[in-house]
Symmetry: C2
Subunit: 216 residues, 2 copies
């Protein structure tokens, strides 16, 4: 799992190659950023939804999606990065300002999932990733919807995690400066659910945002 | 500004080429995801901080950073994507589940900022981007810190915005299904500031998270 590419060159003490840490970040992040290389060798990054099932990360999209269409045959090199922003770090010096975050970076070749059963399982995982329990509370995908969705699988065998937590790290010489320094935790909160027109069913009470595992 | 690359192939009604929309997303997003192509032609995506100053997007990092070091001479093709997650969209069908979001995608050639005055201005903008007013509440970068930071500039002339808001868009045939459907707004909130050890100054009362411009 630790390859040349995932060997962190900078601040290696913030890196982690432990699958547990990587999985936790991927599972908590509601979305990820998918990077591919376009036909002219330029980078292209889009936000998208992901879901992990064991050792595989699933992505999906329309077969017409520019980012994914080149993956239809033979696969495509991707970099999938999921970032949880845990806080702002205000140092005594501008230079040492930072953010507290947890990020997972997955490299690999994304290949098209052809098996209909695996596709349905992946699509279910994608819904469950965002709202646990939701797949049983809505109409499952029919045959045409499954056919009409491109599902990609990325093996989780080349990945790394990076985490920053806690207080600023100021230079010794700055510690006496008369300025406020510290950190401010950030979190995502869900507001009141807004029912669509015509909905008479009550809100099912889903737990929407996973409790943050970070320390801010 | 609207080039072949930024012409949205899918759901063009969600796209916007208006600079005002792009600027608003870049200004509100606390971080972005920077995509580059590595030496072997593979994509590489990392979270980083950005700041917009007029028609230029600034990024920074250590000169040793793998993602940025190839930009030291001659520039590097980048794709910078900033995404604001505004809500979860729960449709009657699994297929139409979605998210409400605003994203800005900036393509361009990032070049190294050499002029020390522009570098200082960019570093100030990066601190101000995260916490407005903070650059005057901390020690500014000294000459060595300015020298030791790689600052990149990306022109904002090839960019696009994409926005999804509001209710799910279900198939007509699903509207009568006895399931809850709707959307749930999400937002980022700041917790109580945590002062670093030895800090005696009071919290300066910065406004930390920009009020969401989206409708959830």
């Amino acid at each position: 799992m630790k390859t040349e590419r995932t060997t962190l060159k900078r601040l290696p003490e913030r890196g982690s190659h432990e699958r547990e840490a990587i999985d936790a970040i991927l599972d908590e992040a509601l979305l990820c950023h998918l990077g591919v290389v376009d036909g002219e060798g330029r980078p292209f990054v889009i936000p998208t939804i992901h879901a992990r099932a064991g050792d595989v990360l699933y992505l999906h999209g329309s077969p017409a999606s520019r980012a994914l269409r080149t993956a239809r045959d033979g696969g495509i090199d991707v970099c999938v990065t999921a970032t949880l922003l845990d806080g702002l770090v205000l140092a005594r010096s501008a230079f040492h300002h930072s953010m507290n975050y947890r990020s997972a970076v997955v490299y690999g070749r994304a290949t098209k999932v052809e098996d209909p059963a695996e596709k349905v399982a992946a699509l279910t995982a994608l819904v469950e990733h965002v709202v646990a329990g939701r797949s049983e509370g809505c109409r499952p995908p029919d045959e045409q919807e499954v056919k009409g969705t491109l599902v990609l699988a990325v093996p989780l065998d080349e990945a790394s995690a990076k985490v920053r937590t806690g207080a600023p790290l100021d230079d010794e010489a700055d510690l006496g400066l008369p300025v406020w320094a510290g950190h401010v935790p950030l979190s995502i909160v869900a507001g009141e659910p807004v029912a669509d027109a015509g909905v008479t069913e009550p809100w099912p009470g889903y737990e929407l945002v996973r409790p943050a595992a970070g320390t801010g």
